[in-house]
């Protein structure tokens, strides 16, 4: 008889602040350890704030959003993160913001000096929130009043939003939504996991079309990964709940106006991870010039354990290549990036003394990977790492309690 493994993975990111506001004093002790950040009157900065998320604009400036004192701030650096300008406030009214590694503000530059920002506001009740969006039409100097993507009942959770702007300039927001789960509950029906919804703006964030469902039965609390293929189609990869409680991954196009039947998700990973709980550990995705999807994820399945890499082929609708990247119990948070037809993979691994950020490269579309090399290290808490780059440069961006936000050059 098969043993049902009832387990869930802990949120091993530093200083999750998903608790209520009354826990602020504790939260501060979990924040940055830099001297400049330790006073209660510390000014907002990328180093003192939480979960900074960066992107290069078309002009080569680095735009960073982060969460601090209930605000989302935007700051700009013209020297690749050495110095930052005085930040602007995205949300004028402070609120409780989800700012753990898995749930963080997102930023995307528009084509005409716009800056788009999204985040999740924590609402009353455990595990509940609503997705917010705000835009700037003047390069981030000022922001319009934030919009909220709530379901009919704001106590229904919409969280883990992610955002991407396609080549046409359409803004896609994709998130994990519990409206179908709640509806099933009211009718005394069971519903596995949550669902994936999305909304699209065709007018640079002036308005969004009504939200639509992408898929039923996603995992409840793992971030979604998005990328765009060479035909300007948005692709989403997320942790799904396959029967029964099998938390492997699903991949799908996000096509505005399509019916859910037209974008039925395809299984992208089959590790056999049966778990009654949410791993808080979402995948990452990067699409190459041949439209192959390069995917990385964490699993504890019966077939595979640790960090995995997979290459998904849309024509065959299956993952044709699978590699174990790091099966150490201390390896976590993999990020993959295609750059000049090479693949770069980074992840965190605790070595018994400190936390290393490791880098590995593949020159043959994921068949073989170089021996991992540490590119940075820290002795205290650390955020998820992320890629940030231009067409010529690639950096690893990593926020750590002792060092603040670092941009570590990978390709220069």
């Amino acid at each position: 008889m098969r043993i049902l493994l009832l387990s869930c993975l802990a949120l091993f990111s530093f200083g999750s602040s998903a608790a209520s506001q009354s826990h602020d004093s504790h939260k501060e002790t979990m924040g940055s350890l830099l001297e400049e950040c330790l006073t209660p009157t510390a000014l907002p900065s990328v180093h003192c704030g939480r979960t900074p998320t960066a992107v290069f604009g078309t002009n080569g400036d680095l735009y960073v959003v982060y969460s601090q004192h209930g605000h989302i701030y935007l700051t700009i650096s013209s020297d690749q993160g050495k110095t930052y300008q005085i930040p602007s406030v995205v949300n004028r009214i402070p609120e409780v913001i989800y700012d753990d590694g898995e749930n963080r503000p997102k930023i995307a530059p528009g084509k005409h000096n716009e800056v788009f920002v999204s985040w999740t506001h924590k609402t009353t009740g455990r595990y509940s929130g609503e997705v917010r969006f705000a835009r700037s039409l003047n390069g981030g100097e000022t922001f319009d009043t934030p919009m909220t993507f709530s379901s009919d009942n704001s106590l229904i959770s919409n969280r883990f939003e992610t955002m991407i702007v396609d080549q046409q300039g359409r803004i896609f927001l994709v998130w994990i939504d519990k409206r179908d789960r709640e509806a099933a509950k009211k009718n005394n029906r069971s519903y596995a996991g949550a669902s994936i919804y999305y909304a699209v703006s065709n007018d640079s964030g002036g308005s969004f079309q009504p939200s639509r469902k992408l898929a039923d039965h996603s995992c409840e609390c793992c971030r979604i990964a998005l990328d765009i293929d060479n035909s300007d189609r948005v692709v989403a990869l997320w942790r799904h709940v396959y029967p029964v409680n099998m938390r492997d991954h699903a991949i799908s196009y996000v096509i505005p106006g399509s019916l859910p039947i037209e974008t039925i998700p395809t299984r992208a990973s089959d590790d056999g991870w049966q778990i009654d709980g949410c791993p808080h550990h979402g995948p990452d995705l990067s699409i190459d010039s041949k439209d192959q999807a390069h995917m990385v994820w964490f699993t504890q399945g019966e077939k595979n354990k640790g960090l995995m890499y997979g290459r998904f082929d849309f024509e065959n609708k299956q993952t044709l290549l699978l590699r174990s990247i790091d099966d150490s119990p201390m390896a976590a948070r993999p990020q993959v990036q295609v750059f000049d037809d090479k693949l770069y993979l980074m992840w965190k691994r605790f070595n018994g003394e400190s936390m290393d950020l490791l880098l590995s490269r593949s020159d043959d579309e994921g068949q073989s990977w170089s021996t991992p090399e540490p590119i940075a290290s820290t002795n205290n808490g650390s955020d998820h790492p992320d890629w940030v780059g231009t067409s010529q440069q690639l950096f690893a961006s990593w926020h750590t309690q002792s060092e603040g936000l670092r941009l570590i050059p990978v390709i220069q």
Binding site: I3, L4, L5, L6, S7, C8, L9, A10, L11, F12, F14, G15, S16, S17, A19, S22, H23, H26, K27, T29, M30, L33, I275, D276, G277, H280, Q300, K305, G306, P329, M330, F350, G352, M355, N379, N380, G381, Q401
Partner: protein
């Protein structure tokens, strides 16, 4: 009216102080050895849990049924959430009548260090239990503890 209010207030204060009374101990890198040293020659069980893990909450409810057969020495509960969840963890332990057990909560900026100190081979899955025998040889178990497992353990 005033009397009723006063009684209500006193009751409320007593209630909140009884929750606050069961403070969780700060779990640091050396704590697992400390826990073991305090129980020299004795068998005991360590259960790791989180406020954010629904199967863990079910596990606590399950352990509640056995609470009279455990003592503060034989059952150690460690919440891996970090100090900012201390109040929530205490409320959950109180609700499950496990607040009198030896309760700890992860402390410090690097939970990975604590996870490594407990067991470098642990992927972080919860619930997770360690059964220590009298010689402190231990067996790890991931997933919800079953009734036969607990019965077997308690009969030892």
């Amino acid at each position: 009216m005033i009397n009723k209010l006063t009684v209500g207030l006193v009751l409320a204060m007593w209630f909140s102080s009884s929750i606050a009374g069961a403070k969780l101990k700060a779990f640091r890198a050396g704590s697992i050895n400390e826990i073991s040293a305090e129980r020299n020659g004795q068998s005991f069980m360590v259960v790791l849990w989180s406020v954010d893990c629904p199967p863990c909450i079910k596990e606590l409810a399950h352990l509640q049924q056995y609470r009279n057969r455990f003592s503060r020495t034989s059952l150690v509960l460690v919440a891996i959430d970090g100090q900012q969840y201390s109040d929530t963890a205490q409320e959950i332990l109180y609700d499950n009548q496990l607040d009198a057990m030896d309760n700890w909560i992860f402390t410090g900026s690097m939970p990975e260090r604590l996870r490594y100190a407990i067991d470098p081979a642990w992927y972080g899955e919860l619930p997770r239990a360690y059964f220590y025998d009298q010689a402190h040889q231990r067996v790890a178990y991931s997933g919800a503890l079953t009734q036969p497992m607990l019965e077997r353990w308690l009969k030892q």
